[in-house]
Symmetry: C2
Subunit: 276 residues, 2 copies
DNA sequence: GCAAAAGTGTTTCGTTTACACCCATGC
DNA sequence: GCATGGGTGTAAACGAAACACTTTTGC
């Protein structure tokens, strides 16, 4: 019927993968597109992706194509849907398995490695090839859902990030504004962030990696001790004379990092939810 | 290379669909399986499903196969994943697009229409063909996630249902226990339930479909009016003499139904979430 | 009439929201 | 030194959780 060496009793659709790569430039959410060099939709922008090989999984295919077309090597892809409209590709019946992936900030700012790959702010995306506009909408919806419960956001920043950076990221994904203080608290309370004390030059005391559940616990304990948590054996120190051995305030620009091991443990433990 | 009339330049995987049909028998969550009549995995239990036709979408294929194999016609299928492990089918490279679907209680209790289709309580499922054990686990996880935010539960009961039925359903899906009173409140507060007044024989007053946001509002308004909401012009009625024109208590077994239109409206309106 | 299931409201607690001041940094 | 951005605590409002009694129904 059709020409070629691979023949089947019944018609088989072709299977492609597509990657919606999200990036964050510090201000806005971006996606990575490539300009199509061949027909159909020559010259149009589209997601990196391509035909899945017969001996690889969809994930493998998606990573391979992504790397071939953009040079990006990402560790995490999330499958979010398979698109099967009968006429979505004019050449033949093609279904596509779609993934989204977070790319670190440095990739986005590093610019376009591959000749034809380019980052676009998500509010300013050109018309896309095939049904990729639709796929993008679905990917974005899924990201919005997922970010509430999964730590995908951290994959969009560098290894270390400041709290305002993280907040701006969440705000651009969800399209809302958070109160700075409440955001800080909520993020720290999750217990999955670690303060990156990248300045071991002045302090010898090698502060152990400090999780904030514990940190807050410690703080409230010391307050209790000071103001009498039940037993008032110690004389109350005069308010002015009490230079409460305060935790020093964090410096502006303090960096945090996502503690994956701790997250995995928390996730197992109970009905823990990130909830943003 | 291989025989058949449909030939391609590159090898194409075969594409199947699979349906994880959930049912609720009043006590436990069930799934619908069919016994495989042919190789591979002859005699094993598996999900209804089969090869997607070249001129239908995956959804259409899934519905068709489901109907062919079990006689079930369901209106709602949810795609939750595509499974692409290279050796998941011994015959040839086959990827499967998987859906889950809620089936109404009457279908479950109606028993096995199709010769080889049978309901199994989800805690007591036999070993399944292919990677269907894995797919089942993923489907269940997805259902647990989705039920918090989508009204899928109602598709598992009959058109009309009692509150305890609904509660038992949520409890078996989520594997938790809810307080009866809190469950009642929360469900009513969503505003997507409607009281099914199926007894118009004694009351002539044709009670308008009563939503519970409104109902509660009415109640608290009448209380405010009685006890003076700011202005106390009316004399306070003696406590004993005040046969507060109470709302009659609902009868045991009162039926409710899911109001889809209202749900759609609420969903549009704001950042409304079911949240269970 | 007794046991089991179902309907209802109130109080308590924890979480979320709102909000103001001080410190650090860069111009 | 002034403006901007960033770090922190506390009080009010809201929503979730805990809880007991009464009514209905079926044996």
């Amino acid at each position: 019927m059709e020409k070629g060496n691979y023949c089947y009793k019944y018609p088989h659709p072709a299977v492609t993968t597509d990657c919606v790569v999200f990036g964050f430039d510090g201000k806005r959410l971006n996606i990575l597109l490539i300009e199509r060099g061949g027909e159909p939709f020559k010259g149009c922008w589209a997601f990196p992706g391509g035909f899945m090989n017969i001996d690889e999984t969809a994930e493998q295919g998606a990573m391979r194509e992504l790397c071939e077309e953009t040079g990006l090597k990402l560790e995490y892809l999330k499958q979010f849907g398979t698109f099967t409209a009968v006429n979505r590709d004019p050449r033949e019946r093609v279904i596509t398995i779609a993934f989204y992936a977070p790319a670190r900030k440095s990739y986005v700012q590093g610019g376009d490695d591959a000749a034809k790959a380019q980052w676009f702010p998500i509010e300013d995306v050109p018309p896309l090839a095939f049904d990729h506009d639709y796929i993008l909408r679905k990917a974005t919806e899924q990201l919005k859902k997922d970010i509430h419960f999964e730590p995908i956001g951290f994959g969009l920043l560098d290894e270390q990030f400041t709290m305002p950076e993280l907040q701006r990221l969440y705000e651009s994904i969800l399209g809302v504004h958070f109160d700075r203080r409440n955001f800080y608290k909520k993020m720290l309370q999750t217990g999955i962030l670690e303060e990156a004390d990248e300045a071991p030059e002045d302090a010898l005391e090698e502060r152990a990696p400090c999780y904030f559940g514990e940190r807050n616990e410690m703080r409230s304990m010391s307050i209790d001790a000071l103001f009498g948590g039940g037993q008032q054996d110690m004389p109350l120190p005069a308010l002015s004379a009490a230079p409460t051995p305060e935790e020093p305030r964090r410096r502006k620009g303090t960096k945090f990092s996502f503690n994956k091991e701790r997250y995995e443990r928390l996730k197992e433990d109970k009905n823990f939810r990130l909830e943003f």
